[in-house]
């Protein structure tokens, strides 16, 4: 027996809801994603409870890099441009990898310039970096206990001992 069914009219799928959801997701991801890759420069601070390491261990060789406003550099007191500084640092780190580098930032230096110098030293192979912001206020330097870098203000006499 053939019962003829009435064919229902073909209904188009309701896509509006789907598009709504997709747009929502799209907008969410567009607003919340960032394409800037955030990274970090790791620094290890000396513990303040430790005795001054400079008394226990012989003072390491410390090079001094001075940064002036505008990014001008001085390596151990002599003006030099960044490629020269980086080359000399590489040579020094090649022969004595644990050479410390003290960065002295003058007034008017911005963070980008300071980070650029730190970057250069790290890329040259430096491991023991100290940062100082003032020539008059000395604070004892710590030792790099974990092989990381050290940030502290360093007395100028340590920095000057080459």
């Amino acid at each position: 027996m053939l019962i003829e069914r009435r064919q229902r009219p073909k209904k188009a799928m309701q896509l509006t809801a789907l598009i709504d959801v997709l747009f929502q997701l799209l907008i969410f991801f567009m607003l919340s994603t960032s394409f800037v890759r955030q990274e970090s420069i790791e620094l290890a601070l000396p513990s303040r409870n430790k005795p001054k390491p400079t008394q226990a261990t012989p003072a390491p060789i410390t090079w001094r890099v001075e940064v002036a406003a505008g990014g001008q550099l001085k390596l151990n007191g002599a003006s030099a441009n960044s490629s020269i500084v980086s080359k000399q640092l590489q040579q020094q780190f090649g022969s004595q990898p644990d050479t410390g580098v003290l960065i002295i930032s003058a007034r008017g230096v911005n963070l980008q310039e300071l980070v650029a110098v730190m970057d250069m030293i790290y890329l040259a192979g430096g491991k023991n970096v100290a940062v100082s912001n003032d020539k008059t206020r000395p604070v004892p330097m710590g030792s790099s206990t974990q092989g990381g870098s050290v940030v502290a203000r360093v007395p100028m006499d340590v920095g000057g001992r080459n």
Binding site: L15, F29, S40, I41, L45, S105, N110, N133
Partner: protein, 135 residues
């Protein structure tokens, strides 16, 4: 005069290309971007090559261009920072302190804050930078 033209049946808009496009965009943003916490204040991080991808520290200090200091999203002042920071570091001084500073900020301020972190007993510090894509 009526020519009695046959009206074309109302055609439904074809939405499939739109959906395809939206899906493509969606997948692009999902795959290519990373979802990051947006800082309350606008920051232009310094650019460097030697950074490593690290987890953000448990304590985040944000230093804005206009003397704003945020410690874990709470506004503090430079004067309050030592006290608040040593309280935050009290349970565990090994906590990583991340410093996020604007690239145009005087380096002096960053170094001062580093010193404050050290004085508060912090041992692990990281300076947040951005790396240029393709670098």
């Amino acid at each position: 005069m009526d020519f009695g033209r046959q009206k074309p049946p109302p055609k439904e808009m074809n939405l499939l290309p739109v959906i395809n496009l939206i899906f493509l965009l969606l997948i692009f943003f999902m795959v290519a971007g990373t979802i990051e916490k947006i800082d309350i204040i606008p920051l232009d991080l310094p650019i460097a090559d030697s950074g490593k991808v690290l987890d953000e520290g448990q304590i985040v200090i944000v230093l804005g261009l206009h003397d704003e200091v945020l410690l874990n999203d709470d506004y503090v002042s430079y004067e309050q920072l030592p006290r608040v920071l040593s309280e935050a570091l009290q349970p565990n001084p090994e906590k990583v302190v991340s410093i996020k500073g604007d690239a145009m900020l005087p380096a002096d301020k960053i170094i001062t804050v580093m010193d404050v972190v050290r004085a508060a007993g912090g041992r692990n510090l990281s300076l947040v930078i951005q790396s240029l894509p393709g670098a």
